[in-house]
């Protein structure tokens, strides 16, 4: 087929990707946007298959079918609470594919030209490094999210030295390849060093910092695709990769800002420890009021406006359907209900929103940090479900606290607070939460789903 026609097809695909992402600006147009993106991808694939350079089509079709079957099964079977794991795996696969394709690209360049042009080699090396880091980093993220390994920050002594060495090896070897004709195997040495680097980069990252890492790996998978595009001199790869790189980067920034932490601190697993927040017993002793679902139901009955704050605990307990039912019961009684969602609630950006959407909560009720904070002072009851650090008022007051300056949901400004939690154990930041000892707070100790169901039952019986 005429190369111009193929390139026109790629142009159409690129345009569809951009228009598709634009559709995600609103839940109503988002579905159409995603279909546009998928159509763009289909056009790109068909155009490539029509390229006369493609041989051994049978093997290719079999591989395509196999990949499609695996991908479709994953997409259909995955539980919404496990979405962060799936996205981690998909990010990793994208990065892995880039490593292989850049490897082939480099091989072809070395075959055809005596001394390959610098920039092709540079792009291949970059794709190998970023892709390998993404691939192995994503598997570590997956293992942490799936609780195959501990979610805590894993740090061994000298880890940073090893990481610097690996980065230096990968970068140095890469530079050497660019300027001095070198054996093809050096590319795979670069990939090997980057793979180890990817593992070591994500191991120190703690569970609650996962949203940042997932967003960052998302960005990297895009940049790897873009670098591969430079190797193949293919613009659709460059454009698509660059769009995804930008998207992941923006999300990374949003997540970091929502925690008031720098990307470097997150990646190093550094939580600025501060002793000033006080001992747990001093804060909690004699002040924590434990309530029953019936008391809470009475509280709700008298309320006109209720705000629900979901956290990772809701996902762990699979409580989203019970929570949605509670919201529906309250709304049926004419009570105004809203959900206040902190950007880093859960394990990936927007995690809570997807769970609540799954449970049929209208998205208009889901409010972000700023919208929510503007309304807590006119809220009668705030129900906190499995969230801790994101509602800790210490972030506003104690300058030396690990979460100082982190934007929080000001739930303590509402007239009454109910916290559903298993115990008084600290959140990820490892500090006590004075909210639990506040005069207007009632603690409901127990499993989030059981407790919310008990409240619903009590409301219906009352």
């Amino acid at each position: 087929m005429n190369p111009a026609l193929i390139n026109l097809g790629y142009l159409a695909a690129s345009a569809l990707f951009i228009a598709g992402l634009k559709g995600l600006a609103h839940p109503r147009s988002a579905l159409k946007g995603n279909v546009m993106g998928a159509t763009g991808m289909l056009i790109a694939v068909v155009m490539t298959l029509l390229d006369r350079r493609i041989v051994n089509i049978q093997t290719i079709v079999v591989t395509l079918a196999l990949g499609a079957a695996i991908g479709a099964t994953l997409a259909v079977k995955i539980r919404m609470t496990a979405m962060p794991q799936l996205v981690a795996v998909l990010n990793g696969l994208g990065g892995g594919a880039s490593v292989f394709v850049a490897g082939v690209g480099l091989l072809e360049i070395q075959h055809t030209e005596g001394s390959p042009l610098h920039h092709f080699t540079a792009a291949a090396v970059l794709s190998g490094i970023v892709g390998a880091v993404t691939f192995w980093g994503s598997w570590v993220a997956f293992a942490k999210l799936q609780a195959l390994i501990t979610e805590d920050s894993i740090r061994v002594s000298g880890q940073q030295l090893v990481m610097f060495t690996l980065a230096a090896v990968a970068g140095g070897l890469g530079l050497w390849m660019v300027f001095i004709p070198s054996p093809y195997a050096s590319y795979w040495l670069v990939v090997a060093a980057s793979s180890l680097l990817g593992l070591l980069l994500v191991l120190p990252v703690g569970g609650a910092d996962m949203p940042v890492v997932i967003a960052l790996l998302n960005s990297c998978s895009g940049l790897a695709a873009s670098a591969t595009g430079f190797v193949l001199d293919n613009h659709v790869l460059i454009i698509a990769g660059s769009l995804v790189g930008a998207s992941g980067f923006i999300l990374t920034q949003i997540m970091c800002r929502a925690m008031n932490r720098s990307l470097i601190d997150v990646m190093a697993g550094i939580t600025p420890a501060g002793p000033s927040s006080g001992k747990a017993e001093d804060i909690y002793k004699g002040r924590v009021k434990s309530g029953s679902p019936e008391e809470v139901a009475l509280l709700f009955d008298a309320a006109r406006r209720v705000v629900i704050v979901p956290g990772f605990g809701m996902a762990v307990a699979q409580a989203q359907h019970a929570v949605a039912q509670l919201a529906a019961v309250l709304r049926a009684r004419g009570i105004e209900v809203e959900f206040a969602i902190h950007p880093v609630a859960g394990r990936m950006p927007g995690h809570m929103n997807v769970l609540l959407a799954e449970a049929n909560v209208p998205y208009e009720l889901l409010k972000d940090l700023d919208e929510s904070n503007a309304s807590f002072d006119r809220t009668d009851v705030t129900l906190v479900i499995g969230a801790n650090d994101v509602v800790n008022p210490i972030a506003r007051t104690a300058a030396a606290s690990p979460i100082a300056g982190m934007p929080i949901l000001d739930v303590d400004k509402s007239a009454a607070v109910v916290v559903v939690k298993r115990s008084l154990s600290p959140g990820f930041a490892g500090i006590p939460n004075p909210l639990f000892a506040d005069d207007k707070t009632i603690m409901l100790f127990g499993d989030a789903r059981d407790m919310v169901q008990a409240i619903v039952k009590a409301l219906k019986e009352a």
Partner: protein, 97 residues
Amino acid sequence: MDAFIVGLTVFVLALFAGFEIITKVPPTLHTPLMSGANAISGITIVGALLAAGSERDPVSNWLGLAALLFATINVVGGFLVTHRMLRMFRRHSRQDQ
């Protein structure tokens, strides 16, 4: 070198377009944004097809097929799971209207 400069131009312009579009995505859609963008980054499938279908040597073909498997899972899984999530969001907007 010319091809590289053209590529770089395209890259930088697409980066700007990406920033403009993505900043308008509301937080409530950030998860579908990630999975959808992720599916788009599976565009490496194009490179994988070219590698798997090249006549040069078996090493290229095998690497290409491995990349093709990865990228296809990425693309199909990504778009489908995004579709599944977005359908849940749209269901409610209909109900409320």
